[in-house]
Symmetry: C2
Subunit: 331 residues, 2 copies
């Protein structure tokens, strides 16, 4: 039913291989023949079948993009950028959501890998050991997870967290809390490390509360502990947790930023539109998405193409000061 290369061949009076070459190796066919074949193909509405092509070439021109939770506002900008960049390079992308479940993540990778040339793992919850085993099956690029021997794109959230601590200390706060994220999260570990180091240097007392669910519910649930801890500033795993926390504090009569300053991470849409506008650590999600796709394609092309086989790209983060942080009240 669909028009194939053979239909085009018949209609233009050449062999199928010539038609094939007009599309995949145009320089090998006579200019005149080429234009004729192209005209016929156009007329018939021929579109090459990528699956069939993949069978011989071993290149599907598809990528897999695996994220923990599509609904988490951190991911959509990354997905959008990755997908746009891929299309630019003539690749399509499968998007899969693991629901924060490592087993599902693994299963997904295994079923997907036959259909894709490479997989982008964003903030994986999988253990390093499993990733190590899976990388034999398909090229990987990992976002926000450190893995030696693998190409990774990291958002240097530790740097931003350090700046955030400085900001808070500069406002006179002496006791702060950190709401951590899920146990397997590299980002959470980085934030924690940086916060621990920087608070120690600056003589700020740090209370670590967590792990917390990476959503507004996590923040809401932690409000009690935060209120009880007596801190005047809180750094949260992400914007959602921060917004949930602010909500929870408000319910307890604690004002943000009047009584407690709150900082999020991601610079996501809800934080931009909330009230008070959230002071947050900006994450270069779109850049990371684009970069990850390009690195993945380079990895696929192979070391022959001059691509360094393994790279670690660190992208800068920053602190965006808005309304949820304030000089400590002199009470």
């Amino acid at each position: 039913m669909a028009v194939t290369i053979r239909d085009v061949a018949r209609a233009s009076g050449v062999h199928v291989s010539t038609v094939s070459r007009t599309f995949s190796a145009p320089h090998l066919v006579n200019a005149e023949t080429r234009t004729r074949v192209l005209a016929v193909a156009e007329g018939l509405g021929y579109r090459p079948n990528r699956a069939a092509r993949a069978l011989t070439t071993g290149r599907t021109h598809n990528l897999g993009l695996i994220v923990a939770d599509i609904a988490n506002p951190f991911f959509p900008p990354l997905i959008k950028a990755a997908q746009a960049q891929a299309r630019e390079r003539d690749y399509h992308v499968f998007v899969a959501d693991t629901d924060e479940d490592p087993l599902l993540e693994q299963e997904l990778i295994e079923t997907l890998c036959k259909q894709v040339d490479g997989v982008l793992l964003c903030s994986p919850r999988l253990s390093n050991r499993v990733i190590e085993r899976l990388r034999a099956q398909v090229p990987f690029v990992v976002v926000n997870r450190r893995l030696k021997g693998l190409t990774t794109v990291l958002m240097d959230v530790g740097q931003g967290a350090g700046v955030a601590v400085e900001h808070v200390a500069g406002l006179g706060h002496r006791r702060m809390a950190l709401l951590t994220g899920p146990a397997g999260s590299w980002t959470s570990g980085e934030i924690r490390q940086a916060a621990t180091d920087r608070t120690a240097e600056l003589g700020v007392e740090l209370t670590v509360i967590g792990p917390n669910e990476p959503t507004e519910h996590g923040g809401l649930a932690a409000a009690q502990a935060v209120a009880a801890s007596g801190v005047t500033a809180v750094l949260c795993y992400n914007d959602l947790v921060a917004l949930g926390l602010i909500e929870g504090l408000r319910e307890r009569g604690v004002d943000v930023p009047g009584d407690v300053s709150v900082i999020g991470v991601d610079d996501s849409l809800p934080g931009r539109l909330s009230r008070p506008k959230l002071t947050t650590i900006t994450m270069p999600t779109a850049a990371a998405g684009r970069m990850a796709v390009d690195l993945l394609l380079a990895t696929i092309a192979g070391p022959a193409a001059g691509a360094p086989p393994r790279t670690t790209v660190r992208l800068e983060t920053g602190l965006l000061i808005r309304e949820s942080t304030q000089r400590v009240s002199s009470s």
Copy 2:
């Protein structure tokens, strides 16, 4: 390099066709042989190649999901649900973002259609004529667009909009504005129709402002016009527009809900986390995603499978009253 059906056949001493059948038609092979083949396959780490299978069966077991803008918080829950439902049915899904560009949308459908068994079009910006032409190439299910002869899933936003108008009227408002969305949007048209009808019935004066960009910028940009119009209530195309509007009004010293009541559409994350919490029309996005996938699969299976060839499913919406609407001030 990858282990194929022939490797399994060789290792288990049967013909490739027997191996093929153990996977795609197990009842045709002897139980004993089957278990042996399965054991060998497991041992070798064999995974069927879906692309190769697709070549003969014509079924790729892939779906395409096309949305206008992944970063718009309306879509992620829908994508998440659709993708989860598809996986449940052993389908993978390509997600593509059209950047609200009809041409890109068309191009995307055309390149994707050879690789998928069906396409889910969410809030398409494409003209009906083009969709009509493309449907010959690949089965469609359309979300939030009315198209005769095509299976569609509609969120009955008109109903919700009617209830919203009643709510506002019940609070004593006599002059309200409607901020419409993009020109091609079916949803926007539905809201407008319902708002026009219901305000007329209830003796409320309606000012229509638009089209507006479907983001917070659209709302921000419309704030001037709203402030100048003298209305005391505004129904917005979506939550983002509503939040942008609230922000813009605040900049002009207009309080929400004190001076003006604002209602959004979508019940998206930012609206839940904003301040005041947004009164909004709830959209059954997750249900729509799941339903659309099931209808698409039914369409693919063909009328032979007992599926009605064309269906229109209308899902109910509702009004979620939170903090951004208030009884009109008696000034």
